[in-house]
């Protein structure tokens, strides 16, 4: 009796051993979420609750915060983690509702492009910030600009 030859299944796609983007996206949403709770509530407390709250915010207030490396790191993390979390969430929602392949592709591109541009813009703003721009009137600047 001969052994029957079973043909290999003609699966459309051979299992690929590549990174699983959706899995890492899923993990990222949860990992970033935990960190964002701390970053966002800290941000809201410092800007809206402490002292004069929203009334205290102006150019000098921002300059005062970014004179401290602690807030530079804080705000950089906030920018990257929150924007990537939000953008990945919007990608999920696009996949859920945009049935038309063309519209879906356009939305994915718009999402990706705007995210990349805002990450670049935000990062540049934080790291090229000038607390004492030449020619600005002194009463709008943080007090430490007056020092000789």
């Amino acid at each position: 009796m001969t052994t029957e030859q079973v043909e290999a299944p003609r699966s459309a796609r051979v299992a690929r051993r590549s990174t699983n983007f959706e899995k890492w996206g899923w993990i990222y949403m949860r990992a970033s979420g935990v960190v964002l709770v701390v970053l966002i509530f800290g941000h809201l407390f410092v800007n809206l609750v402490a002292g004069e709250g929203v009334n205290a915010i102006d150019f000098a207030f921002v300059a005062g915060k970014w004179a401290n490396p602690f807030f530079i790191v804080w705000d950089t993390l906030l920018l990257w983690l929150a924007l990537l979390h939000g953008a990945n969430g919007m990608r999920t929602i696009t996949n859920d509702y945009a049935y038309n392949p063309t519209i879906r592709r356009v939305l994915h591109w718009a999402n990706g492009l705007s995210t990349a541009m805002l990450l670049l813009l935000g990062t540049l703003v934080i790291y090229t910030f000038d607390p004492c721009p030449a020619g600005a009137s002194a009463d709008l600047l943080p007090s430490f600009c007056a020092a000789p």
């Binding site: 709250g53 150019f59 921002v62 300059a63």
Partner: protein, 110 residues
């Protein structure tokens, strides 16, 4: 189901605020005058109410997000998902009870 709807709606709302917020903060790189002009509109009564709504949305999204994470990773998370939903609502009420009076006093004076 409703927690999912609320999570999605608040997520989208916060996302669009974040886009605007990165752009308005970028004005610090333009000039102190430009930044102050825009940020002063955040201190008006209407925007003050908007900020209250925004914090309410973020508060729900954050607390419910932690609940989702617990459902996914905590061994008995799925068993207590309903109880945790009510815990989310309770913590959310406490959060807003602490935040709203203080913020509304900042905005409306008092």
């Amino acid at each position: 189901m409703w927690s999912w709807v609320l999570h999605r709606i608040t997520g989208v709302a916060i996302y669009f605020f974040l886009l605007v917020h990165i752009l308005d903060t970028a004005l610090v790189r333009v000039s102190p005058e430009a930044y102050n002009a825009v940020i002063n509109t955040y201190k008006t009564p209407i925007m003050g109410l908007g900020e209250a709504g925004l914090v309410a949305a973020i508060g729900f999204h954050a607390l419910n997000g932690l609940r989702i994470i617990l459902i996914d990773f905590w061994s008995v998370g799925t068993k207590y998902h309903r109880l945790m939903f009510w815990a989310v609502i309770a913590l959310w009420v406490v959060l807003l009870a602490g935040f709203l009076p203080r913020h509304l006093m900042h905005v409306f004076g008092g």
